[in-house]
Amino acid sequence: MPQRVARRLLDSALADALTTPHGVDRYVELVRPAFSLNEVRAEVVAARRPTARSVTLTLRPNANWDGFRAGQFVRMSVEIDGVRHTRCYSPASSAHAGDLLELTAHAQPDGVVSPFLRASARPGTVVSLSQAEGDFALPDERPEQLLLISGGSGITPVMSMLRTLCHEGHRGPIAFLHYARDEHDVAYARQLAELAAGHANVRLLRGYTRSVGAGELHGRFGGEHLRAARIEPARALTFTCGPTALVDAVRTTWAQDGLDARLYVEQFAPPAPAGMDTADGNVAGTLRFARSGVEAAGTAALLLDQAEAAGLTPRSGCRMGICHTCTCRKLDGAVRDVRTGEVSTAPDELIQICVNAPVGDVTLDI
């Protein structure tokens, strides 16, 4: 109760007027880093390391968190060596898990954020979150039959679906197919086994690509695995999340049967390699200006010039990298700083478009 009163006071017009121009957050966050009047932030309350590559974080979001639908993802921002990095993670917890949220990150060998989290995330760390996003989610009207297919780290959104459905006491048949390298590389191995053992309607089938004979499934996804699932795709809703090869195989099978409408897909592409080869001048790609909805064929020219050539009028000043008037958010893609030749591939970062040229596809928030 006193907390609610405190929040009401901090959210008042008076508090806003007294803390102008910085706002209430900028003062309160110095003592309560997870506090914000509008932004979603969360404190790590537990960090487990279920496999050699993964880390499972339990987060307590602040009061601004609106919750999520099982299967959706959030953008989480963490700071590494002074730089805030943002990545998408699908909560793996039940959508009814109260005010806690569970995310699992799988360390990619050449990644930045996931190895950092695996090595360094600990209780007390404060992260920033977006609200949940994405259409890869359980519909409000739950289907009776479900087929959940995941590969590797793609387990998290379907894990959330399975947990949510079990939590709701879902009665219809659910088959859960999961593919991994071997049995030691499954972040939710124990929880999956427990759910399957505790719910007669849940059928768990595991396939290991590097551990022959260990799981219930052998080899890659195909018709045989589908039969073993004992779910009729035409009567069920299927959700699949994982590497491109798995998702493509599922998609092809469903398309052949004309069942695309009954299939939900979430696919993750490997991150772009850090040092892209620009020496050969191979920079052709598509420039997307997300806010204005304009697309253009990219050239090796400066982004500012190309944006103007595409009929846009982005803010600009010195046109020599001094004044930062043209700084804008690069949502996706690689750019080269023409002053240093350095290529940056990080998603969601601020760049000066007067001194950067695209390398391949680039999406800007203009």
Binding site: P21, R26, G82, V83, I322
Partner: protein
């Protein structure tokens, strides 16, 4: 150019000079990280702490020790907010952190000038066109005669008076700076053209004044006059300090001005050269540098405006060495000497002389209808 003739470098030397400075910049950019993030957060935390402490003490402003301590804390908080935090963050010095709290385009500071207008007039106009007469509006702020190349007019007899007023009301001077009032006088633009800007200044200024002069005093109840006086003093202290530091950046004896013709189509090396010759440093201890927002390293700031200010002290050693090798001057001195020479210049230039009229280029603006209480008709070369 004024005063002494600047040293001459061959185009090849200028290119090499530019490459050496580029190399410094590249090295620092690659090294940016936790150290810089920790630094700016520590400063921000100190500033917020001082601000909260100062304001609380000023609520008890009827007690003289609380008033003094509160006013001092709030003055320092405002100086840190405007200079080491606001000015530097708005240059994009911490944009690489990707943290919305220190994002150069989103930051707003505790002063009357709307950040958006500052970013244009300072980051773009002043830093790109530093010390180019007719382009850099920081030369005299459209009010003072700060260069012999500005043609003299009887209006400038008031130069020292205007300077004192500008120092005391600096935050409002800065706020109105981007309006280019002299263009209104000359009829080049009408008040209607400036409506949006005026509205932004009014919105920001009103919120600032409401906080400092109405709300915090009212919260003190019967102690309101003391709180009011404390806030007024803190704003004035910040104004005078910021004016002092900023006027030492480009106006001390030995800094050079340039003409538009000289700087047309300049190379990267020439741009660095102009930034160096147009700027002057202040010597002092670490605390002095922080309180000046590291603008005491004005030379390094103008060479590398988007590198974190707390790095300038280290870079200064290298920049000095490079300048020595190329035989270039490196204008640096203690505050009293540099400011002394600025005061001398303000007083001296209030009078005609030293080639004032003859050497001036064609006036760009002639006021036609001087309004009462406004500056008389005058010619503003540095408009």
């Amino acid at each position: 150019m004024t005063a002494t003739t600047p040293p001459q470098l061959t185009p090849e030397q200028l290119d090499a000079f530019g490459r050496e400075l580029d190399a410094i910049r590249e090295r620092v950019v690659a090294d940016l990280g936790e150290r810089d993030a920790d630094y700016i957060r520590r400063i921000i935390k100190t500033q917020r702490g001082l601000e909260i402490g100062g304001r609380l003490l000023l609520e008890l402003g009827f007690l003289p020790p609380a008033w003094l301590a509160g006013t001092a804390a709030l003055s320092v908080a405002k100086i840190l907010d405007n200079m080491e935090i606001g000015h530097n963050v708005m240059h994009g010095q911490y944009d690489w952190m990707n943290d919305p709290a220190v994002n150069g385009q989103a930051f707003e500071w505790d002063t009357a000038c709307p950040a958006e207008q500052w970013r244009h007039s300072h980051n773009y106009v002043h830093h790109t066109h530093t010390n180019i007469l007719g382009k850099d509006r920081d030369i005299g702020y459209g009010i003072l005669r700060m260069s012999e190349d500005q043609r003299w007019h009887p209006y400038y007899l008031g130069n020292p008076v205007y300077a004192v007023l500008l120092a005391l009301l600096f935050q409002w001077g800065v706020a109105l700076h981007d309006l280019e009032v002299e263009r209104l006088h000359s009829g080049k633009e009408s008040w209607g053209d400036k409506r949006e800007m005026l509205q932004a200044i009014w919105r920001k200024g009103r919120r600032q004044a409401l906080k400092d002069y109405v709300l915090f005093p009212l919260l003190a109840g019967p102690g309101a006059p003391f709180t009011f006086a404390g806030n007024l003093t803190a704003n004035a202290v910040r104004n005078v300090w910021a004016f002092t530091i900023i006027f030492c950046g480009h106006f001390p004896e030995g800094t050079h001005e340039f003409t538009e013709e000289e700087t047309e189509g300049e190379t990267r090396g020439e741009w660095y050269f102009r930034q160096l010759l147009g700027s002057a440093n202040l010597t002092g201890g670490p605390l002095f540098h922080i309180m000046s927002g590291n603008l005491s390293h004005q030379i390094e700031h103008h060479l590398f405006p988007d590198l974190p200010g707390h790095r300038y002290a280290e870079l200064a050693v290298e920049v000095r060495e490079i300048c020595a090798r190329y035989g270039l001057p490196y204008n640096s001195g203690p505050l009293r000497r540099q400011f002394g020479s600025v005061v001398k210049k303000i007083v001296k230039l209030s009078l005609p002389g030293r080639g004032g009229g003859e050497r001036a280029p064609e006036p760009t603006a002639v006021a036609s209808e001087p309004a009462p209480a406004a500056p008389p008709a005058r010619e503003l070369v540095a408009a």
